[in-house]
């Protein structure tokens, strides 16, 4: 009996959470896929009608805007946050005084909720309250910074706020990576008289490849699930210029009573995530097999 217990204890302990995940994650993915093939409106219906909801989705200019925004915002967000984070990390790595204090200053934005970030930046970027009004108040009457209300530029305000919030976190990741590089190799390079920038570009950064991948995955999923930031900063506006797939789905499901459309947009979002995560998982698993 005791032997049986000790053999099976891990399985028994894991079973409830395994079942819960099976039902509430994979079960509901299946359910959403089903609903996305129906004509569900206010309540889910289960008569399969084919891919009409996907046709509607891809014919919708609002969804186009949402997807364009996702790719533009996502790509720039990942690249800029990584570059800024790496830059800050390298600068902090130069054995400066009060490093702990500065690190906290940069890391702190990550502790804020996206809603707070969005609301604060909404005030800062509002032409009548924030930067534009202040600079004009200094006497530069022609100064203009109205991105928040300009439909072509509004998505970049979301980008500013998101980068502001996340680059400190990326910095912390990279700093940990920089510190984990073997100091012997760096010393050896220094003894050979190789300049510091060469040490970084040729030795340290290449050896941090796994950190880059982790940072990429974290930032990519932050970009895809950015919802609260858009809601707090622009409310999806002006018009629907800053809509992202997540806000599109929310609007369809909860404001418009268009569950079928919401389900199909959710499925497309999931495929986008898969397109990023599956290659990653593949590379991870293959690395272990070797």
């Amino acid at each position: 009996m005791t032997k049986w217990l000790s053999d099976h204890m891990p399985k028994m302990v894991l079973a409830p959470s395994f079942i819960a995940i099976l039902v509430f994650v994979y079960g509901f993915i299946g359910w959403t896929a089903w609903v996305s093939l129906t004509k569900s409106r206010l309540l889910p219906k289960y008569d399969i009608e084919g891919i009409i909801q996907y046709k509607r989705l891809f014919a919708s200019p609002r969804w186009d805007t949402a997807m364009d925004n996702l790719f533009l915002f996502g790509a720039l967000f990942i690249v800029i946050a990584m570059l800024l984070g790496l830059g800050l990390a390298i600068l902090l790595d130069q054995n400066i005084r009060t490093e702990g204090f500065i690190r906290t200053v940069y890391l702190y934005p990550m502790a804020l909720s996206m809603i707070v970030t969005g609301t604060a930046w909404k005030w800062i970027l509002n032409p009548g309250l924030g930067i534009e009004a202040t600079v004009q108040g200094w006497g530069f009457e022609n100064f203009k910074f109205d991105w928040l209300i300009n439909p072509d530029m509004a998505i970049y305000t979301v980008l500013i706020a998101a980068v502001w919030q996340s680059s400190g976190f990326v910095m912390a990741l990279f700093l940990a990576g920089l510190r984990s590089v073997d100091t012997e190799i760096i010393r050896a390079a220094q003894v050979d008289g190789i300049p510091t920038w060469r040490v970084y570009t040729a030795i340290i950064i290449p050896s941090m490849a796994p950190i880059f991948l982790s940072a990429f995955i974290v930032l990519a999923h932050l970009a895809i699930k950015s919802f609260d930031l858009v809601i707090a900063l622009t409310g999806g506006g002006p018009g629907y210029a800053t809509d992202l797939p997540a806000t599109y789905m929310y609007t369809m499901a909860f404001s418009r009573g268009d569950i079928g459309q919401a389900a199909s947009s959710a499925m497309v979002m999931m495929m986008v995530v898969f397109a990023i995560v599956v290659p990653y998982l593949y590379s991870e698993l293959r690395a272990k097999d070797d």
Partner: protein, 413 residues
């Protein structure tokens, strides 16, 4: 002695059953802000004084999105509330899902057909049977103005959109923001439907926004409507993006802006700030004939058990009762849905509104507001709003907007 004890026990059981059979109703609503909560308390009191047991289920979140989600969860779980605050075609949509109860008995006993304007009564019926009870009528096509500004600049309340444009240009030259507006999609839609009614007239409104007639949607009139929207955009200040409607109202109140186009809930803001209609602020219907209504109502859901059904019937009766219709609407700023309520205690704007409702009902221009979910299903109304707000917030031409509108409607069905 034993016999007596038995009798007492029997009497107590009876009393207990009687107590259990009190009419009861669970009411899901989203009236949670100050004035609204006060208004719904009126109904609650009245329900209790008629011997009913009221279970309140307020869901915060002004627009009712959260309440809608809560309601869906309850109905899917097979535990619907007795009544829920729903309006417009959503009532029929819920009926099609087979979730609504029939309250025709109460409606016929109390002669609702004679008490309500025909088009409003139509919203409360599901395939001939009564399934909902109206509590108020909000008029949407109002234009509010700061009396002082208009007087100082020698401007009268505009009666056509050309007059409005002329007034706005005069104000702009004087350095005053002509139109206070909040850049949220539903506010863009509110302005759009009043412009559409004014430019195209009642028949065009009916064809375009109620019947979704493709010819009307692509017509030259529609292009003219979008042209006027583009003109209106020029009268709004630069900070309007994302502004709440009540902040826009405050701009009119404080003399920063001259006009606002908003439903009569804006009146509540003026009154709460101690402003008097006719003196501090002016109200008039937006240019053009017609009346766009937004009717709040309670839809009655299928419930099991005699006491619940009784509670539902009592609720329906009280909601349409003269006393509730009056007190509630005095608090809420709207006008009673039933036409026979004495309006002595109401202000001038409400009296105008009630008179216009009666006359437009006869003239056939009493129309459902599309922007407030009275005319179309959510998906269709949303598709129109997407185009309207995209046009208003970009440099899209009217021609493009009209094409997008027709495509969006075709795609929303």
């Amino acid at each position: 002695m034993k016999h007596f004890a038995f009798k007492v026990a029997a009497a107590m059981t009876l009393a207990a059953t009687a107590a259990h059979a009190e009419p009861s109703a669970e009411v899901l609503h989203y009236w949670t802000s100050g004035g609204e909560a006060k208004s719904v308390a009126v109904l609650q009191e009245e329900f209790k004084s008629n011997g009913g047991v009221w279970t309140d289920m307020p869901v915060a979140g002004g627009g009712g999105d959260a309440a809608g989600t809560a309601l869906r969860a309850r109905v899917l779980a097979g535990n619907a509330p007795a009544a829920a605050q729903i309006k417009g075609p959503a009532i029929q949509e819920w009926y099609e899902e087979g979730a609504l109860a029939d309250i025709s008995k109460v409606a016929e006993e109390n002669n609702w057909d004679a008490l309500l304007p025909a088009s409003i009564a139509g919203h409360m019926k599901c395939e001939g049977t009564w399934c909902a009870a109206p509590v108020n009528v909000h008029r949407v096509d109002w234009i509010w103005a700061n009396a002082e500004i208009l007087e100082a600049n020698g401007i009268d309340m505009p009666t056509s959109w050309d007059e409005f444009n002329a007034a706005a240009e005069k104000l702009q030259a004087a350095g005053i923001i002509p139109l206070a507006h909040g850049g949220q999609a539903w506010q863009d839609a509110t302005v759009f439907e009043t412009v559409l009614l004014g430019v195209g007239g009642a028949d065009f409104y009916q064809q375009a926004l109620v019947d979704l007639d493709p010819e009307a949607l692509k017509s030259d009139t529609m292009i003219a409507v979008f042209d006027q929207m583009r003109t209106m955009r020029g009268y709004v200040d630069d900070n309007f993006s994302g502004r709440d409607w009540n902040l826009a109202t405050a701009m009119v109140m404080n003399g920063e802006a001259a006009f606002q186009i908003m439903g009569d809930w804006a009146k509540g803001e003026f009154l709460a700030a101690g402003k008097a209609p006719g003196e501090d602020f002016l109200c008039a219907s937006t240019p053009g004939d017609g009346f766009l209504y937004n009717v709040d109502s309670f839809a009655m859901f299928d419930v099991d058990g005699a006491e619940k059904e009784e509670g539902q019937n009592l609720l329906a009766k009280l909601v349409m009762g003269e006393n509730f219709q009056k007190t509630f609407n005095l608090n809420k700023g709207s006008i009673p849905a039933r036409t026979d309520v004495a309006l002595d205690d109401f202000d001038q704007c409400a009296k105008t509104s009630a008179a216009d409702m009666a006359s437009t009902s006869e003239g056939g221009s009493l129309l459902p507001s599309y922007a407030h979910g009275m005319a179309l299903y959510g998906a269709q109304a949303g598709a129109i709003t997407d185009v309207v707000t995209a046009h208003f917030n970009s440099d899209m031409t009217s021609q493009e907007a009209v094409e997008q509108l027709a495509n969006a409607i075709a795609n929303s069905l």
